[in-house]
């Protein structure tokens, strides 16, 4: 049974239902990747889909990221609508030639003759003690590349709803799914049916400071905002949702309301999305700021295995609260 609005489901289940709906809706859609079929998906996202849709459409591949990502790109150019699953963003580096040199360039280089309507999903981020080859956040690398669209659903509604517009887009869309959110439970709302691909969303309205974030860090910001509220600081949270394109209007709109900003990014600080967002604010909203922009990013280390060190490396509510307090300064 398909969970409807009001159901409490996990993020994993929400992603699965999005895939299931897409497969049922459009015969051109198929799922392709390592262990998506018999195993049920490395993170159990596609469990049960093989029985429902068969081997042609739930297609297990060899450990050949470049070949099956490239095959997805080719199939998309030839009229299909593949959903390519890469186990983690770290593994996607084995296919980065196909994504960056082919998917991102072919429409432009062919003068518009060959759009590439492929969807590539991959798990991202830390928090499950998977160490330094399964835990990184390379969203910024892909968001750097013209020709790609990059999104990261952080909520149950987006996890369920983003796939549809991604498949309807004529452009290559990369969907990042934070590993640490797969077990998160939440309520599916009516909004899941009509989400879009390119707009940020104000997750929590506030007057005093804007927290700009995406992915798993959204929930770190929510915790931080609740703590700040107890001391009378009313934080607004902007969930970027789309990492390319960035929704400048939403970012600047919030900045103009609160005049103080902390950006929370699970990527490393150097050359990060947080740097890009901060610079856009400086370029377009410098005189709207009452304080320097703050940032909370992952420490610049390969993500370590032991829990206490992994936790210490990642943004958390305490660091976000501290950064907000620095930004507030005398205004507290």
């Amino acid at each position: 049974m398909t969970p409807g609005p009001g159901s409490r489901i996990t993020y994993r289940e929400a992603v699965k239902q999005g895939i299931r709906e897409a497969l049922a809706r459009d015969p051109r859609v198929f799922l392709i990747g390592e262990d998506v079929g018999r195993y049920g998906g490395c993170f159990a996202v596609s469990k049960g889909l093989l029985d429902e849709f068969g081997e042609e459409r739930i297609r297990d591949t060899p450990l050949s990221e470049s070949a099956f990502v490239g095959a997805g790109i080719g199939a998309a150019m030839a009229g299909m609508r593949p959903i390519v699953e890469i186990m983690t963003v770290n593994f996607s580096l084995l296919a980065i030639d196909q994504i960056v040199n082919n998917a991102a360039t072919l429409c432009h280089m062919s003068g518009g003759q060959f759009p590439v309507p492929v969807v590539i999903r991959m798990a991202t981020g830390a928090g499950r003690q998977l160490a330094a080859q399964h835990s990184h956040s390379f969203e910024a690398w892909y968001a750097h590349v013209p020709g790609l669209r990059v999104v990261e659903p952080a909520t149950i509604d987006d996890a369920r709803g983003m796939l549809r517009p991604a498949l309807e887009s004529p452009d290559p869309v990369i969907i990042f799914e934070p590993i640490s959110l797969y077990n998160m439970e939440g309520e599916l709302t009516d909004a899941a049916a009509s989400v879009d691909l390119s707009h940020a969303r104000v997750h929590r309205s506030g007057r005093d400071v804007t927290l700009i974030t995406y992915g798993a860090s959204l929930w770190r910001c929510v915790t931080a905002a609740e703590e700040l509220a107890t001391s009378g600081i009313d934080a607004e949270i902007v969930d970027l949702r789309s990492l390319r394109p960035l929704d400048d209007a939403a970012i600047l709109g919030s900045v103009r309301r609160t005049r103080r900003v902390v950006i929370v990014d699970e990527g490393w600080r150097t050359g990060s999305l947080s740097a890009e967002v901060a610079m856009r604010i400086v370029e377009q909203g410098f005189y709207d700021l009452d304080a320097p922009i703050g940032r909370v990013c992952t420490e610049e280390v390969p993500i370590p295995y032991p829990k206490h060190l992994e936790d210490a490396a990642l943004p958390d509510a305490a660091r976000i609260v501290a950064a907000v307090r620095r930004t507030m300064g005398d205004a507290q």
Partner: protein
């Protein structure tokens, strides 16, 4: 030199020669235009390898797709892309077949299912798998014909693609143009196993070695491989033994090979070989050859005129097509 196959008519022979000469004369002009600064960037000429492109394209139909390399002028011409838009592309003009955005290494043409020259060695193979997979999933009869050089056999994407194509019995023709040099590195200096077809066979891909200087041998081998694929039996790799007479690109001083070696290959090049055989069989005269060459030159001149007259895309359109302007098919 091999005999003409039985049953070759004058008309057939002249057609094949004409196709090869169209490529050769087009590219001879390209080399001049490069010197004159009309064509910039990298320019990789196909001179010497024409029998492969022409032989292959005799077999492929309108429902088949082509994935090519950066040395793809010959493939494009033999596939039927008009010389005017092709030359305009090399000029970088708006009327180019890729709208001027690709240049010599990136010829695209949706109308003939020409999925582009790919300038990342080995990068086109996975695309061909996907095009073939789409065709197979739709129950179509189309093939994906994928050109690459022997240098690609050292890339991981070659090995991943052999495995996946065989595993899924995809209707792919792997067309390896073995011209012996990956840029300046001879095959034996870069591969522990120089037998390319053996690599394919190891993955369960049917494979054969073909004389790439003989257009009839190429056509026959491709016809067999295409029938095999269309019958649902999966991919074939054909290793065409060929040679490029000119430098790798216009920046190549050719320090890595002897002039004598080049001359030796030239003596049994594809054009001279076909010409000699057609004449010996009494199917063609020297006048025929001259006439065909002249017609090709006229077509090339018209293409140059077309390119010269085409305008530049306005700078205001720089960011067009980064994202699609229309729904994807």
């Amino acid at each position: 030199m091999s005999e003409l196959p039985v049953g070759i008519t004058r008309e057939r022979g002249l057609h094949l020669l004409r196709e090869m000469l169209r490529i050769r004369q087009f590219e001879a002009r390209c080399a001049e235009l490069y010197g004159a600064g009309k064509i910039r960037g990298f320019l990789h000429l196909y001179d010497g390898e024409e029998a492969v492109a022409v032989g292959v394209m005799q077999v492929l139909g309108t429902g088949d797709s082509i994935v090519s390399t950066y040395r793809e002028h010959g493939h494009a011409i033999a596939r039927g892309i008009e010389l005017g838009p092709l030359m305009a592309e090399l000029y970088g003009r708006r009327a180019g077949c890729s709208g001027g955005r690709g240049g010599s290494m990136h010829i695209f043409d949706a109308a003939t299912r020409f999925y582009g020259g790919n300038a990342i060695v080995g990068g086109g193979l996975p695309l061909a798998l996907g095009i073939a997979l789409a065709e197979k999933m739709r129950g179509g009869r189309g093939l994906a014909a994928c050109f690459f050089g022997e240098g690609a056999a050292a890339e991981g994407e070659f090995h991943e693609s052999m495995n996946l194509a065989a595993l899924w019995r995809l209707p792919v023709l792997f067309l390896c143009e073995n011209n012996l040099y990956a840029m300046g590195t001879a095959l034996a200096r870069s591969e522990s196993q120089t037998d390319i077809q053996a690599k394919a066979t190891a993955y369960g891909v049917r494979a054969a070695v073909v004389d790439g200087m003989d257009v009839f041998a190429v056509e026959a081998a491709v016809r067999d491989a295409a029938a095999f694929a269309r019958a649902g039996n999966g991919p074939t790799l054909l290793e065409f033994r060929t040679y490029r007479f000119r430098a790798h690109s216009m920046f190549d001083a050719q320090l890595y090979r002897d002039k004598a070696e080049v001359e030796e290959w030239r003596r049994h090049g594809p054009v001279i070989s076909l010409t000699t055989r057609l004449k010996a069989a009494g199917l063609m005269s020297e006048e025929d050859f001259q006439r065909i060459e002249k017609e090709a030159d006229a077509e090339v001149q018209a293409a140059v005129d077309f390119a010269e007259q085409s305008d530049w895309e306005p700078v205001a359109d720089l960011a067009r097509h980064v994202y699609a302007e229309v729904a994807a098919p």
